[in-house]
Amino acid sequence: MIGFGRKLLLGAALLGMAGGFAPRQAQAAPPDILIGAVYPLSGNAAPIGHDAQQALETEAAIINGHHDVPMLLGKGGGLPGLGGAHVKLIFADSQNNPQIAQSEAQRLITQDHVVAIIGSYTSATAVTISQICNRYRVPYISAENSAPSLSKQGLTWFFRPSPTDNDFTKAMFDFYAAIGKKTGRPVHSVAIIHENSVFGTDSARIQTAMAKAAGIKVLTDISYQASTPSLSVEAERLRAANADVVMPSSYTSDAILMVHAMHDAGYTPKAIMAQDAGFIDPAFIKAVGPLAEGVMSRSSFSIDAVKTRPAIPAVDALFKAHDNGKELNDLTAREVTALQVLADALNRAKSTKNTALRAALRTTDIPGAETIMPWVGIKFDKTGQNIEGNPVILQYQHGQWRTVFPFAVATAPAIWNVGK
């Protein structure tokens, strides 16, 4: 071990010397702008954290490099408003634990002096990160946390370009109404199953309320502890309820278990409408294979909306190069967009001062066509919530995700087995 350690040290020293001898640029470039990113890089949600890291690095490469992507700041060459300064990401591992997320965020702010923090996948970690950001008066850009309660904490340094589970759930019920009308086979009942942290609990609460408003019966509402060793009893309860649509809010490992458990119980739900998260994770598709066929999920991204969002192929290709050929998905696309929003605000603020940056974020007004998202645009309300983000419904058909709702932007008709 000692020998290995010495070699490492020697290697590091050599590298340092090489750097020292490298020719210096004639004119000092503006200093890099440091941006913190807190994600689960180890533990159960590590695949998501890893993808997030690659997505953010992809967008940083677009901003700093010369890839000429047809979207806002896609020309590259750094931020013109700050003399061509480059953005530089500093990642911290939350281990998907709210306490660790908090201390890591604090470390990024106090030691690395980042100008803003982007995070964090799970809403439970976003609660602690956003609060610490607020205390230190540093903007927190919530890339893909979807719990609506995050915007209701009274935080003034919180900004979320993505729709929340409120909007997402509304899209699901809009879809039920529309497809019911179209096919004559409406949804009469749903079964809700959710993990019991902030994300799942919030999501289930909204789903229950919206089902009631739509006159749809909730046959069962199952709450379970995330990362449980078995979901077979839960699957049995779903089978017993036999609702028209099963509505899960789950992270990846549980999503895999659940789909396997339902299959093992000999139960094929007529429809599954997932609250994104685990069900949209490429690791889920890889792990359950053909059992993913027909799964529907709300999403804020549609990879096939190339006609109206010309930047998608270029960003997707760059992301693939960063992340072992993985395709952009709902999560990674929102991470790309989060950094784009932050970079745009920095560019317009022409300063890295926190108050100037917040003022710029508050006046954000990006048209949808300048992003890769199918949204109308990005404009924040007083709580820092984007009011122009509209979700879509995707369905996994013949090995790929297709947009099936709203019908106006759909790229394939929904496969609808309810009422058959």
């Binding site: 695949p47 954290g49 077979s232 009893v233 309860r237 093992d264 000999g266």
Partner: protein, 291 residues
């Protein structure tokens, strides 16, 4: 709620319980033998599952056929862990208890990190094994074949462990357990017994890992889902008792499933830990434990 649903859930719980029991058996064996709690036990399970996955991916060998292979591999890993780490930790002159805890705890963190580095953090699963996705129908009760097979193999493994404990080696194990200094006087090589104990303990969890890989996802942190339950199982059944591990595993599987069915799925661990607390209060040595 129909009778067949209750039966289905109960049988499912018992099958899962057999897996819990086998995972716990290896832990119990090592603890009973030398009073060392192996905090890396769940990670041994994870290593076994990755071994199955990688061998399956490379050679297309069905998980079931890999049983002897992976058990032997894990046996070797167990012996290596004893020789390289535990034997040294036992030789420390001060704070021995702490050193033992930190050694296995550190090993667990190391193995999770190493697995993430080597295999990546993605979730894997084997979906084209002989058993994958098949179900057995008993009237209205539907049971997944991989879990039925896992239960059977776990029972066989228990039978093998019981048989081993009756052999001369088993008696040497037992004697070493009772008085590790006295056995040296009658010519038993304590070090050899300990390393074989670690080998068998790891091989046991290896067998559980092979059967789990048939129906469970594989990830660097998969071990922790089972490790906590294994500790409870060992404490419940009595430290060092094989029969105790078996009964406790079955009990935990059953209680977990029935709590989820009759009370609430999010409370299933509450049922398990309620029993645990009760045992600690009224019978601290566990159901089958000897003092």
């Amino acid at each position: 709620m129909t009778a067949s649903l209750v039966a289905q859930v109960a049988i499912g719980g018992l099958l899962m319980g057999l897996v819990y029991a086998l995972v716990a058996a290896g832990l119990s064996l090592i603890f009973g033998l030398m009073d060392v709690v192996n905090f890396a036990h769940g990670e041994l399970l994870m290593l076994a599952m990755y071994a199955v996955f990688e061998i399956h991916a490379a050679f297309g060998l069905d998980p079931l056929l890999q049983l002897p292979l992976v058990a032997a591999l894990l046996f070797g890993i167990g012996v290596a862990i004893y020789r390289l780490l535990i034997a040294r930790a036992l030789g420390v002159r001060f704070n021995t208890g702490m050193v033992q805890i930190f050694v296995t705890f550190g090993l667990s963190i190391f193995l999770v990190g190493a697995a993430q580095l080597a295999f990546g953090s993605d979730f894997r699963s084997i979906d084209n094994g002989v058993l994958s996705g098949r179900t057995v129908h008993l009237g209205q009760i539907v049971l997944p074949l991989p879990q039925v097979a896992a239960g059977l193999v776990c029972l066989l493994a228990f039978a093998a462990l019981m048989a081993i404990s009756r052999t001369e080696f088993g008696q040497a194990l037992e004697a070493t357990r009772e008085d590790r200094d006295a056995v040296a006087l009658i010519g038993i090589d304590r070090d050899r017994i300990f390393s074989l104990g670690w080998g068998i303990g790891a091989a046991t969890v290896g067998i559980a890992g092979v059967m789990l890989a048939n129906f469970y996802y594989i990830s660097p942190t998969v071990g922790s889902n089972f490790a906590l339950i294994a500790y409870v199982t060992v404490a419940l059944g009595g430290f060092g008792s094989l029969a105790g591990a078996l009964v406790a595993g079955l009990l935990i599987g059953l209680v977990e499933a029935l709590t989820a069915l009759f009370i609430d799925p999010s409370l299933k661990q509450v049922g398990v830990f309620a029993i645990y607390v009760a045992v600690l209060m009224f019978r601290p040595r566990g159901l089958f434990g000897r003092l």
